[in-house]
Amino acid sequence: MRVISQKRMNSAIMVAIFLAGFVVFHFIGRYFVPMLAYTRHEQPVDFSHVFHGNDVDMSCETCHFFYEDGSWSGIPTLDVCMNCHSEQLGESEAEKVFVTEYVQKNREVQWELYFRQPQCVSFSHSSHVKEAKLACETCHGPQGLSRHPTKYIVNRITKYSYVVYDSASSTIGSALVRSPEENVWGTMGMDECAKCHRARGVSTACFICHK
Amino acid sequence: MSSQTDMPTLQRCSAPKFLLWLSFWVLLLLWGAYGAFLCLYKGLNQTGMNNYFVFGVWITVDLAIIALGAGAFFSGFLFYVLRFNFLKELIGAAVVVGFICYSGAIGMLTIDIGQPLRGYFSFWHANVHSMLTEVIFCITLYLFVLTIEFVPLITENRRIREMPFLRHLGENLHGIMVVFALVGTFLSFFHQGSLGGMFGTLFARPFSYRTGVAIWPWTFFLFILSAIAAGPALTTLVVWATQKITRRRLVNRPTLSRLAKLSAILLVIYLVLKAADTIYWANFTAPEMGFRFTDFYKSPYGMWLLFGEFYLFGLVPAIILLIPRARDNDFWLVIGCLFTCMGIVLNRFSFTIQTLAVPVMPFEKFVVYSPTWQEWSIVAAVISYGVILFSLAYRYLHLFPREAELNG
């Protein structure tokens, strides 16, 4: 009897060790690796969309607009900001930093772009906004309602924002985004693009999205 | 084998001697590793390939060793499925040779593609129309099969057999090996054929392009046939060489002869079909595309290639090995098998390099390709990888079941 139980004991220990190994490494793979693989950056300037949009009552098009040739301006360059901020407006710390560090030194702000696509992608804002009449929020989420810039979480290997690929993968997402404020809404992966294109019967030819 | 509980202890050379033997091949392997490093770090500009010769010596060697590795699946098929029991003596060795060939080929392919880190795209974004997709899938899957076939060999190791789980695993695998043999045969059949199809479907390349029945099933079967003819020849060569190097008898002499005879018969069938293919292609396919037969054979890719492939390394070894007295003589056996193997290398060379050398556009010229040392080093590395793995397998695994008995 004792011999048998000793054997069973041994087997049980073996199984336990096996399971322990499984759990530990699964956990490492699921939570620890994403934390290692991604790094978080602060935006250089504490920008508030709400302030500009609601309190100053600017329209979105003041900063984000189409150029004459139908290409998209994206994040405004310093000269757009300088239309108002050529001198310090208000007393906030962010404004002080912005004016002294960037406006006065005539230095472009190196914004981290959550939605920056890989360089092989040519995304046409025009086709999505003007032709398909998609709202900005469809892809970008309620960015316009942010009071502070969200942390920028970037993959160390690929140098892409996690939004571009990984927000669709809930496990990685939950390992990365620690609080709701850190979450950048939306996803920009190719699979998402393709899904929507197929659903709407839009061309999925390579050159439609790739350059 | 599964019934044997106690393996005899086999006599092996001393450790220093073995290490000395290994060290030569390891050096060669390291040279190849350096070449591979250069190709991966600096890019494929390190090779002699160019926009005309997009495939070089690596693909030639790939095709050749995959063809030669066919010995594994074919022997497996004959042994497990058709119950050719005489093959029991060397089925283990055949599996190891097959494993070496396939893993070596995949290793070489990884360096050959421009973006190895993206290599998995061919699975992830597979294009079902591409012959290459089929080849990649089948080769990879077949490598899995070979790995599984390899496992029982490992579990027969004396030390490993001490562990009950692994022993059981090995024994059970053995029981179902017939399934894997069948799967392997199926997969091999496909990709050996597809490798031919890879070039046969290139309608821009009049040298290898075949139409209609000439491509399917003709080219497919030509490739399969040539592979299963050459595979056993390589197995024979390897066994013979191992016997020579270890100075031990490993298999019954008649076994080798029977294997060689098999090879020769298949070779003859292949040659007949190949001749038919060539004649049809030279007289119908090529002229339809505005080419004369001689347009394809320009210096240095001259007519000697066809001669070598067909006569010297085709008919000659076939005849040698068909004569019982010749194949029972070690010298002629080796010559016959060696020529068979060289024939297939030459055939695969023509299919890759010469195919690309023939200009497609009328205002292009014949071009010549010569590989760089980096390319050769990796070829050498694959060969030394094979030697090392086979040496280790021979030393530590029980590759030849009758070894103890024959040297008893």
Binding site: I17, F22, H26, I28, V33, Y67, P118, I157, Y160, Y165 | -
Partner: protein
């Protein structure tokens, strides 16, 4: 033993579980995927940034053709150049050099700050210096020379373009006390001498090819860069139009122009003049010529008597006697029948122009050849006529104010030019850089030119750069001449600078191209004009007084006022082009459209080009300023200058080119290609990409010969050979081409640079090393297009 095994098994279990656990987590797959994405985003592969799109017009400065271009900008970067459809010269067509110009602007051979040489001239080392120091050194050197009373030994070699910068250079030298602004020669200079001799005009010939029905080109590489490329290509395109123009190409070898012309007339090298006279013979014999024009406006056609009563034979009897088609056939190898046909073709397709000047304008021929060709235009009465030949009209710019000169300046300026141009020996030439002598020079400026590489008189050029005591290079890139300077004052390139072009080559319209900076200067460089102004200011005194402006932009603004004052012409724009296409003149005068100068200036800055669709050439008399006030088949000026006794010496005639020399059985001819800039300028890498591998392979240059020549010399395709001439030898490889005339070795120009960047340096050999420059006794210009040679296998 037992414990060991346990531990081993436990470790194995843990490792097995761990591997399975890890593999079942997303991590390994994500790592594999991320590595693949890393390859798609390699940090060393550049990502061109987006930005605000803009298109701005500009002038192409890759050559002096003066084509209008349109530059695409993305934010602060220039990313593309296309032709400007609204420019009257090229109407949207530009050559590959223009298309690739950004490779030069952003190229590796640009100089980024003033440099002072520390090493030797052969092996220079460069030390960056500040602009203050560089200009200070130049000024100090000039002061020193002036103090020594040797200001007339200050020489400046510049390009052959008509521009305000060149006028400022001339002005600067005058203010300092020197006459020696020496322009690099071009084939145009020979044409100018022919014009001076036959029409008495100091100026340029202008061909109205837009309206001609036939263009008879005597060896001009019309499609390889002759004149304004865009303009010539428009003419070529007209050969396919419904009402086509015919291009007759007379040339020994099958050049691109020859292969694309309506008709190619293969001819023995150097006998083009004889063929022109042969055609003249048929025209006169058959009375196909414009008898009215010849009678009224020509001198020396019929036999005549001079004031002393001495009889002279006229052009008519000269040509009828000497240049019968059979005789010409013997000279040129062109069949007599063909000559007759050509003459009829020429006469039947009026208006037709005969144009001369070999190569793309960098090759130099004998002046009599050009006179012979030009006499065809006069015979047909095509002087000052639509579709014929004009004298290039002037652009009504405000002249620069008079130079203020101090005592030393006045003294130095009174001394004759060092190159002998305009002297009794060479009365008709403006500049003769080949006559410069290093030991007469105290200081040498080299502005925007590359004499060390490009001058036909290579011995002179090399001596200049070896021995001239102080060389200052004003250059935007490190060319061979700049590389041998003592001090480099780096210039902005065409798209970053203020500049202008006053004369577009060969166009009968006055055209003014204004070039303004499109982007901030990339480096610590300046405009040539700005540099001169700064040096003048540093020198002070009357020199500073002569340069009262603050910047080059200011100078140009001042000059353009002259255009505004005349009120003529129009600014190049879509509307202007539309009107031009409909054959309309400007709607109202310029001053009605732009009442204030500011409005005109603003528009000119946008559109870069002013031109006059009605050239206002005035009466024929204005184009005939010879002593006889007529077109002179017999040049009295030539007689006066050289006192030739023989009548033929003052008339167009054929002089055999001495291309035979003992021991040299072949003729080496220079080949102008479009791909290579042959005037010593930079050739962008994308043009090198276009070169066939039987022009350049590795660093080896190929010369081309006929397979029959090869057969005689026992040579084969690809052979390495030595091409040798009395001047020198080069090692090249052979390419056999049936389009090359038997006995000719064609060597392409523009290779063999020793400076510039790795994309151009050490590629092939410089054809100048074998081509011999002879001197034309009349013009003093080199005769430089062919030389006796031989070829031997290595």
């Amino acid at each position: 033993m037992k414990v060991d095994r346990r531990i081993f098994l436990k470790t194995l279990a843990f490792a097995g579980g761990g591997s399975l656990g890890f593999l079942s987590s997303p991590a390994p797959w994500h790592i594999v995927r991320d590595l693949a994405r890393w390859t798609q985003n390699w940090p060393w592969v550049p990502v061109p940034p987006h930005g605000q799109p803009a298109y701005e017009k500009a002038i192409c400065m890759m050559c002096d053709g003066g084509c209008g271009i349109k530059v695409r900008k993305v934010g602060p970067r220039m990313v593309r150049i296309d032709g400007d459809k609204d420019h009257p010269l090229n109407r949207g067509l530009i050559c590959p050099h223009g298309t690739a110009a950004l490779q030069t602007v952003y190229g590796p051979s640009r100089i980024r700050q003033p440099l002072k040489r520390t090493g030797t001239r052969e092996k220079p080392d460069w030390k960056p210096v500040s602009w203050e120091q560089a200009i200070g050194e130049v000024a100090a050197k000039i002061q020193e020379i002036r103090a020594a009373g040797e200001s007339h030994r200050i020489v400046c070699i510049t390009n052959n373009c008509e521009s305000t910068v060149n006028q400022l250079l001339e002005r600067f030298l005058q203010a300092v006390g020197s006459k020696n602004l020496v322009r690099m020669n071009s084939g145009r200079d020979v044409r100018n001498v022919a014009l001076k001799l036959m029409q008495g005009v100091d100026g340029d010939m202008a061909y109205d090819i837009e309206n001609a029905k036939l263009i008879a080109s005597f060896g001009c590489s019309l499609l390889e860069g002759w004149g304004t490329w865009g303009r010539l290509y428009r003419s070529y395109a007209r050969t396919f139009a419904d009402n086509p123009v015919q291009i007759i190409q007379v040339e020994p070898n099958l050049s691109i122009t020859a292969s694309k012309a309506t008709q190619w007339v293969p001819i023995k090298p150097g006998t083009e003049g004889a063929l022109a006279l042969g055609i003249a013979h048929v025209l006169i014999r058959e009375r196909l010529h414009d008898e009215d024009f010849v009678e009224k406006h020509c001198f020396g056609f019929e036999d005549w008597e001079d004031s002393s009563g001495k009889g002279h034979s006229g052009f008519k009897s000269h040509v009828l006697a000497q240049y019968a088609p059979q005789a010409v056939e013997r000279i040129t190898t062109v069949p007599a029948k063909e000559i007759e046909k050509l003459a009829f073709k020429f006469a039947e397709n009026m208006p037709a122009v005969a144009v001369g000047g070999k190569g793309d304008g960098q090759l130099f021929t004998n002046v009599y050849e050009l006179m012979a060709i030009h006499s065809l235009n006069a015979l047909m009465g095509n002087i000052n006529k639509t579709g014929g030949v004009f004298v290039k009209p002037e652009v009504p710019l405000t002249p620069l104010p008079p130079v203020v000169m101090d005592e030393e300046a006045a003294r130095g300026y009174a001394v004759d030019r060092l190159d002998g141009a305009g002297s009794a020996a060479h009365p008709f030439s403006k500049s003769l850089p080949g006559n410069l002598k290093a030991d007469e020079i105290r200081m040498l400026f080299v502005h925007d030119s590359n004499p060390y590489y490009a001058m036909p008189e290579q011995n002179t050029a090399h001596e200049l750069f070896e021995k001239a005591p102080f060389i200052v290079a004003l250059s935007c890139c490190m060319n061979e001449s700049a590389a041998r300077a003592d001090l480099i004052l780096p210039l902005n390139t065409g798209l970053e600078k203020w500049d202008d072009q006053i004369v577009a080559p060969d166009s009968p319209h006055p055209i003014y191209n204004l070039s303004r900076p499109l982007v901030e200067p990339l480096y610590d460089n300046k405009d040539a004009g700005g540099v001169l102004i700064e040096i003048a200011k540093t020198l002070g005194g009357t020199i500073a007084e002569s340069f009262p402006w603050a910047s080059m932009g200011e100078v140009l603004e001042m000059r353009v006022q002259g255009i505004h004052e005349t009120g003529r012409g129009m600014i190049a724009s879509p509307d202007a082009m539309a009107m031009l296409d409909r054959g309309l003149g400007p709607e109202g005068s310029l001053s009605q459209q732009y009442p204030s100068f500011a409005s005109l200036w603003k528009k000119l800055l946008e559109d870069n080009c002013w031109f006059d669709p009605e050239p206002h050439h005035g009466p024929l008399q204005k184009a005939l300023l010879t002593p006889s006030k007529k077109f002179e088949f017999y040049s009295q000026r030539l007689k006066d200058a050289f006192g030739f006794e023989e009548d033929a010496a003052c008339m167009p005639h054929y002089e055999e080119a001495s291309l035979n020399k003992d021991g040299f059985d072949l003729v080496i001819m220079a080949e102008d290609t479009l791909t290579m800039a042959d005037d010593g300028k930079d050739t962008p890498p994308f043009l090198m990409k276009q070169l066939s591998d039987n022009v350049l392979k590795g660093n080896e240059l190929f010369v081309r010969i006929n397979p029959i020549t090869a057969l005689y010399h026992d040579l084969e395709e690809g052979d390495r050979v030595i091409v040798e001439s009395p001047r020198g030898k080069v090692e090249v490889r052979l390419h056999l081409f049936e389009g090359v005339r038997e006995g000719v070795v064609l060597i392409p120009l523009g290779f063999g640079h020793s400076a510039y960047d790795e994309f151009l340096r050490d590629k092939g050999v410089n054809a100048n090393e074998v081509l011999e420059a002879k001197t034309d006794t009349i013009t003093g210009l080199p005769i430089w297009w062919a030389t006796p040679g031989k070829i031997t296998k290595v």
